[in-house]
Symmetry: D2
Subunit: 345 residues, 4 copies
């Protein structure tokens, strides 16, 4: 009963098979392996972007930080949500990789609004050389609170960025989970809306450790390659990154797994709602924030369920106090484990 | 006939098996997996260092850069060989991770001499606040030219560093290949000699992409963890790094593979010597630098052999001119491929 | 009628005289000049801190950034007000000098409250290696909105920092203006309250360009010297920094000038209040934020008065709309200019 | 008898007068003072470069580091002499300001040769993403050993840089001393030869602390302004930097002072030669390296002469051993002090 994160589950067998298949004989290192050609072609097809620059790294923080460093000067500031992973969960990696750029937190919640973004950008407008200069806008979808931007919202945020001439980065650690919830194409969600660079996650959706970084305009491709190498994120035995991503994309496994994960979360949410749980917002992808009484949390934890209580402590006195928890489902967790969990509430 | 690098070969089946075995159910992320406990215990045993801090990263550049950043202040300089990987092959990663420290190249060749190291350190002595301050000494073993330091040489270099109160880092991307050539223990080669931190390579010796960083004094362990996270090198699905390293260490695979690689290189060198090749120095580990006539190189390349001609061009006129090539053997290349290569010379 | 900033006025004649006096013959460079001994002794006396480390730099941003870089690791975050100069007006200099540390904005206004500071620090508590680590607290006094912390407020903020083991930096670009408003000693306001390092401003109070950085615990003195040199802020002809600071401290000029500046601002505020101006808060030091009707601002600007309208535009339609302006007085501006300004309202 | 450096002497009276004259009333801060307009116009005239971007900073290290940071990416390497100030005397400031670029030392002495520069650049050619990328070339004139490049040498070095598409920086901490020794125009020595950016020194030639940075192509002007601010080198009371530089340029004081300094050094060298001193190379500007017997050095030091013995120790046994010293003359030192020094040899 492991709902702590979608990074705690196993690698999908199809990806393990792709790794085993790649493990034959010799291959050129550092991205010159033929599997990388397959990956590049496939991602360009998926995104309808035949000129896109495509790279692989092993962690989501690397994908985000290197993409932002390529889009942002050290005297600029990146606009993002106060709960963005790049702000809260990367131990200053964006500041490090950009050489000391700032992050400006756009007031609001998990999803930035165009109005709040415009106001935040405008506020940095008039200080000349004294304040940080306006840099990239970074959007996370699925957000850190499990919600999913509507396509029109992404378009509106990009439109604001473009009004100020700013590039847009999309943190898609859960890109597939967002996409299957949105009913649009990868191109719609990204470059057609105005996104310049994407962190396209694989790790949380069944891979071992691989994320693609995609620049729709290849002008900064070589700079990215240099920053990746300098950041120690260029793999010598690169074929094993390629193999993961190739396996992930073959036969639409990436979409199938995301649908499975979202369906698991929906089943979990439905069951919890029936037992009286209250939700931070309607579950949309594979991560839910739900409030249960302290007594229920205690029962679940004693039975070995793994997840984070987001606010409040299990040790409080009142057994009826509602405590919000974060619960994340991956593709593998399946109905039996979910139902066993629900039975304990 | 792939002699370009020991990063072009396949992953050892025992390590693939360890990955498959680890791929069962759920595991805590970010290094809290039980396999990491096995790795930590095993490396402490191997190094006879029960208090050592042990961490895993996925690339050799990450291991070196993060270790050096933990040992070095940004206003200091690291002493190393002019052909050190950290200087020539990491696109300024040490400068990046240290926040702008300098590398001082100790005059000489692949192996630093204690006299040259002492002179280089002494030279930085008297400039007060104006020059860079003296920082860590970084030794590479196996060196970038395939030679192996004698234990007494490592001891002497460390003694010089200690005379100036400087920490010592060992770049052991080919640690196992050096060890089996040296006839000493891992402890002898490291902390007993005066080494403070080791990059303990796995990737080039049959792993997929994993290196351990070991600090014999754990005082800076937490700082390393923060620098690893900030450098985007903390894996969420960490168990797959642990599994590789666990598989690598079980049943002394790391030593068996290194002996195989070194034996392959010896067979290659013996065969080449019999055909008139000249060597930069006596082959000691799994990498040789040998001069052959241009005509022989051309024949080999036309037959599909992969390796780097280190100096000079295949396109020159004189078919008898001797051109030096770098040839690297991994554990997997085997006598048939070597003999086929030799037959072409 | 120059109220734009206290950096637009002239250098005090006593400081010009000190410079002229210092300009005799030869002097050792880089801080080894005898005048620096006078400055060090005098500042130690003033702060009742006989072991304090004392350094001079030429800009307030250098003083703040170098002090913070000495107190803060790159994986940490500095706690400060959302209107702090280090956040709004230094173009990412603190991020640059610390090597990529973050600034956490403590919700509230110009003065941090102990409660808000405690909550902000506590919030960074539980993310382990993932979030930024808690670093220094930076307090500005006089604040960027012209208000002055009460001594008890500084003590309470330092107490919160100490509860978490965090160092405290005081941005005293207007240290003297704050001190004469507070009725306490320099020691009271700093190390007795729990402050570890001070940027002690001279430039805004009659110097040409000099600020002292004072560490009450000299343990990090050498690190500061290296960071100052590496930051290109060590002056070769250092005696001219020393001379300014020596002239500034002789005969309590620093206090006399601050009292004059504060008195000028009080006269200005009293006059404006009599004409119907409304104040953001009670004027306390040498900077006031006052609202006047648009028509009055227009008259003043047409007459050549220089100051910043802080919110709103002179170009709006309604002549009666109240627009808040920032007005700063230095020691030199004098009653005639103030009264001429008032006459125009 | 102060020959330790040209940063130990006084400020020229004409520059003190310019500062006094500037100290009248109020002036806009941060470079918007009218004196900066005078400086900009005058330097554009002097360099015959009507579109050049011109900025002032207070230290030579700031001028060099900020110019290089504007010309160099963090994954590049700067080519310079092994004795360049940027390498030996700036405590890693160039590495800091560039965000971690490397310095490649071109083998040879104080003056780089075109052949050695070409070989050093070519050597970085073929490592692809692995090695540092080729960045700016930095030339120092007057060199750190007191020699002066011939114009043809500067032209040849720039031609090599241009062959590889690299920008050229000139460290002109002693620009005026070089110019008056070279018999060419400022334009000849810089942009006509192929130099892209100049650190135009004032401090060592009679100013208090001011250096100009000049970019002949203004395309990166705004980036430089942001880097200067972020580096804490934008002065609020900027008029006092402007006044120094304006005073320095008026009536060709910069040339007159340089001629005086060079003439002082020539007198010193002639006198020493007559007493048997041997020279590292023929004295050309205002800095000489001369060998004298240990006994003579002892006599001079006992009599209070200040200068650096460059190699060897005064404490050695042999009174006749020749020890090389560095002796620097500024404009102010005059024949009496020189002759008194000579009398002691």
């Amino acid at each position: 009963m492991f709902f702590a994160s979608d990074n705690t589950g196993p690698v999908h067998p199809q990806i393990m098979a792709a790794l085993a298949e790649a493990n034959d004989g010799f291959a050129m290192p550092y991205g010159a392996d033929p599997l990388m050609d397959e990956v590049r072609t496939r991602l360009r097809d998926i995104f309808e972007a035949p000129k896109a620059a495509v790279y692989l790294v092993a962690t989501g923080t690397a994908a985000n930080s290197l993409a932002l460093a390529t889009l942002t000067q050290p005297y600029e500031t990146v606009f993002c949500s106060p709960v963005a992973h790049i702000h809260e969960d990367e131990c200053n990696a964006p500041e490090f990789f950009t050489g000391g750029a700032k992050l400006t937190l756009v007031p609001g919640g998990d999803r930035m609004t165009p109005e709040a973004l415009r106001a935040a950008i405008a506020k940095e407008e008039s200080r000349g050389v004294h304040g940080p200069q306006r840099g990239a806008v970074s959007i996370t979808n699925v957000t850190e609170r499990g919600s999913v931007y509507a396509l029109s919202e992404i378009e509106a945020l990009c439109a604001v960025a473009k009004d100020f001439g700013l590039p847009v980065h999309l943190d898609g650690a859960r890109f597939a989970n967002a996409l299957v919830a949105m009913n649009c194409s990868p191109a719609d969600m990204t470059w057609k809306a105005g996104v310049d660079a994407v962190s396209f996650g694989g790790t949380k959706n069944g891979c071992m450790g691989v994320e693609a970084v995609i620049f729709f305009d290849p002008a900064k491709a070589w700079e990215f390659e240099l920053r990746r190498k300098r950041g120690a994120h260029l793999f010598s035995k690169h074929r094993y990154l390629s193999a993961q991503m190739a396996g992930y994309l073959r036969d639409d496994l990436w979409l199938t797994s995301a649908r499975a994960a979202n369906a698991n979360a929906a089943r979990l949410a439905d069951g919890m709602r029936a037992k009286g749980a209250r939700f931070l917002h309607d579950p949309q992808a594979n991560m839910i924030f739900a409030a249960l009484p302290r007594a229920a949390h205690r029962r679940l934890h004693e039975a070995g369920a793994k997840y984070y209580v987001w606010a409040g402590s299990l040790d409080g006195h009142d057994p009826d106090e509602m405590l919000t928890a974060r619960l994340v489902c991956d593709w593998s967790i399946g109905p039996e484990r979910i139902d066993a969990f629900l039975a304990l509430i």
